[in-house]
């Protein structure tokens, strides 16, 4: 099933995978958080697990601060930072409910967490300590950083754009342009906009600039749907990852497919083979030569038997990720 350009990681997590994130500076290291209460660090080049550390409950998200520090949070509502050189844990702080997302904003040098307690909290990674709590209208489901702006997706299909330099007020309050629950938001590397995916097989491309000319360019399209015996099966789109160089992006759905899209020409660049089960998370590495694909059942249809959770590392070529210039 896996070709020459793709391999499965050894010593994978023992339960569902919640997030995969590549190191910001090297192509070698991959951070993986899981429902088995661990965060693991893999050396992708040699296909070995370098390190793992424990939370007291399942971990929902993790992020690199710098190549030697990881941050993670989950159902225990604790935010942890781990020194990957010395294997030392520090609990930085807590939310009032499980932490759903952890991100790093290099422009403002701040860690951002989003939680089901309806708040976003900022953390100073140097001290490390809490640098502010900002109430959101609903439970935070996803967030992404675009330059110094923070895009927060909450329950009730709301999208809020904050300015990380001035968190005194919400810069923009939007409603998702998709009809169903927001699953994932990821910002364009060029900071112009973001891509939002919904639970019912749809993806929207949105722009931050509120001027009318720019807003005209926004659009949405259907994907991750399979037609079987005349019935269209609609799958959640769980994961989005941007290619840092070309501004193209990959989406992963519960149908087990990964698609790569060219948002400028509104074209699909390629589709990979079907993975054993739902795509829970996707991550391009920093130079866009590799894609980490977490194929892991997310209990979309309840607690039923499912294929084994696995992480695949796939080499991607320019042909698969570069917009076709016409």
């Amino acid at each position: 099933m896996t070709g020459s350009n793709e391999y499965k990681l050894n010593q994978g997590p023992e339960d569902s995978i919640s997030a995969v994130k590549f190191s910001p500076s090297t192509t070698q290291f991959l951070l993986v958080s899981s429902w088995d209460c661990t965060v693991r660090l893999y050396d992708v080049a040699s296909n070995t697990m370098r390190m793992k550390y424990q939370h007291t409950a399942p971990v929902l998200d993790c992020a690199f601060y710098d190549p030697t520090h990881s941050w993670s949070g989950g159902l225990d509502a604790q935010l942890k930072t781990h020194d990957l050189n010395t294997d030392q844990d520090t609990i930085v702080g807590t939310h009032d409910a499980p932490i759903r997302c952890v991100e790093y904003c290099p422009e403002v040098n701040v860690m951002v967490t989003g939680s089901w307690d309806r708040s976003v909290r900022l953390w100073d990674p140097r001290t490390p300590c809490n640098a502010g709590t900002f109430t959101q209208p609903e439970k935070v489901y996803t967030l992404s950083v675009a330059g110094d702006r923070l895009i927060v997706g909450t329950a009730g299909r709301r999208v809020l754009v904050w300015d990380l330099r001035n968190m005194g007020y919400v810069q923009q309050r939007r409603e998702s342009s998709l009809k169903y629950q927001t699953r994932c938001i990821r910002a364009f590397p060029n900071k112009q906009g973001y891509v939002l995916s919904s639970i019912e097989g749809r993806v929207a491309v949105e722009y931050l600039d509120p001027s009318q000319e720019v807003q005209k360019k926004k659009y949405a399209f259907k994907c991750h749907r399979l037609k079987e015996e005349g019935i269209e099966h609609v799958y959640p789109v769980n994961a989005i990852s941007f290619h840092s160089v070309h501004n193209t992006f990959a989406t992963g759905g519960s149908d087990g497919f990964v698609n790569i899209w060219d948002p400028f020409n509104k074209k699909r660049l390629c589709q990979f083979h079907r993975y054993p089960t739902s795509i829970a998370s996707l991550a391009f590495n920093n130079d866009g030569t590799m894609l980490a694909i977490a194929s892991s059942y997310m209990h979309e249809k309840g607690d039923i038997s499912h294929p084994e959770d696995a992480i695949f590392i796939r080499q991607v070529t320019d042909a698969e990720t570069k917009p076709k210039s016409t």
Partner: protein
């Protein structure tokens, strides 16, 4: 302390919606003290707990959770309003159990329906629908609420007939039904008496000045404030109009216009409420005064000429001069933080939903279920949609799974405690 609380309560009286069963004063105090700074995290936590209980419930009586949740919502959000989600909750609860025969005459379920009906614009339709579906037909509360609605609309005869229907169905509790029926009869007879007295001084209602009327005229023409003369200033005019009115009414037999007389038809009609066998709830009729939402700008009004042809109104002439705009008057340039409302529509570009009433949604829900059963559905969502969307707020997969995880760990820890206790007991007994 109680005194201070009383003052608080007095100050916010107009923001408290009345409840049939009244309110717990402690809950009211708490809710009002929290009101200042929006729903607190404690309220959010409680709500979240109810929401997860709705989804995780595995016992025999799922209605119980809904019932408690809705009662809690009523007590916690005395001002009602959108953030309480009460309307959504009621609708979801009512829709969820339409297929469950065992609940159809459960007093709690019937109460939910009545609350739901009272939140709708057409409660009578809902009551008829309940009757057609056999929901609450043996419950006195249905007939009482139904009759009250008729009475509020001034139709005391129908209100009485509803009670008769209730007696025929031998609705329980019988005494309550009797009591309310007697009260209705008393009210009606008193009203009749009052009307007889009223007839003696048959003074037309004094016209009054319109308070809070629109004084500013927003059009391009000069402003005209509505002037309503009252008292003697108007009397002569109105008398004149009345005398003019009589001959016109006399012509009515000649004109083609047939005037509907409510009393005539009702006396000829059958004397009990018709039992309509509805397959589906009625669509929202009787809405002639509500206009459908549509664009008003750029719409040209077709005008009928004398000959019945439509002519378009001539376009307003364009000004032949350039309106002067001071150069310095331009808005200062800055980062757009607030979105221009003209563009704002682009940011939330989902088309406005077509007009939907709760009844229509109920109907659609039924249809949807039927289609799903017969396998006619074109689309199928590949996830547990029902679980994510039941209740007033949505859940995501991770939240559902987290709930299961917490439940499991809780059970495990309880088991551990139990086994430890058992061990302790065993060791104690061995010591003994």
């Amino acid at each position: 302390m109680a005194e201070g609380g009383d003052v608080d309560w007095e100050l916010c009286k107009e923001n408290i919606q009345p409840l049939r069963r009244g309110r717990a004063i402690s809950a009211l105090h708490q809710a009002l003290s929290q009101q200042q700074d929006g729903p607190s995290s404690a309220v959010n936590q409680q709500r979240q707990a109810f929401e997860s209980e709705l989804r995780m419930y595995e016992g025999e009586d799922p209605l119980d959770v809904w019932d408690r949740y809705i009662k809690w919502t009523e007590q916690t959000f005395p001002q009602g309003g959108k953030e309480s989600n009460l309307a959504t909750l009621l609708e979801r609860a009512v829709t969820k159990f339409t297929e469950e025969e065992k609940y159809h005459n459960d007093p709690r379920y019937v109460d939910l329906w009545i609350k739901f009906a009272e939140n709708c614009s057409e409660p009578l339709d809902i009551y008829r629908y309940m009757q057609a579906q056999g929901i609450g037909v043996t419950q006195a509360s249905l007939y009482i609420a139904w009759s009250e609605e008729y009475e509020n609309q001034g139709n005391s005869r129908k209100a009485d007939l509803v009670f008769q229907e209730g007696f025929k169905k031998s609705a329980e509790p019988h005494e309550k039904l009797m009591q309310f029926h007697k009260a209705l009869q008393a009210r009606v007879s008193r009203q009749v008496l009052m009307n007889v007295e009223d007839d003696s001084d048959d003074e037309p209602k004094q016209p009054e000045r319109v308070s809070l009327a629109d004084l500013k005229h927003r059009g391009k023409k000069k402003a005209i404030a509505p002037v309503n003369r009252t008292g003697s200033a108007v009397r002569s005019v109105s008398r004149g109009l009345q005398s003019l009115g009589a001959p016109i009414l006399g012509n009515a037999s000649n004109s083609q216009l047939v005037i509907f007389d409510e009393n005539k038809t009702s006396s000829a009609g059958p004397s009990e409420p018709k039992l309509e066998s509805w397959v589906a709830p009625p669509t929202a009729a009787a809405k002639e005064n509500e206009q459908r939402p549509e664009r008003w700008c750029d719409v040209k009004m077709p005008q009928k000429s004398k000959f019945g042809r439509t002519v378009m109104a001539p376009p307003p002439p364009k000004p032949t001069f350039q309106p002067f705009v001071e150069e310095s008057d331009q808005p200062p340039t800055m980062t757009p933080c607030k979105i221009n409302p003209a563009v704002n529509t682009v940011l939330s570009s989902r088309k406005p939903c077509r007009e939907e009433t709760p009844l229509k949604r109920l109907q659609e829900h039924h249809q949807h279920q039927k289609e799903a059963e017969s396998g006619k559905l074109q689309e199928q969502s590949m996830y547990c949609k029902e679980l994510l969307l039941s209740g007033a707020t949505e859940f995501c997969f991770e939240e559902l799974r987290a709930e299961r995880y917490f439940k499991k760990t809780h059970q495990d820890s309880q088991k551990e405690v139990k086994s430890e206790q058992d061990q302790a007991c065993a060791s104690e007994s061995s010591v003994c």
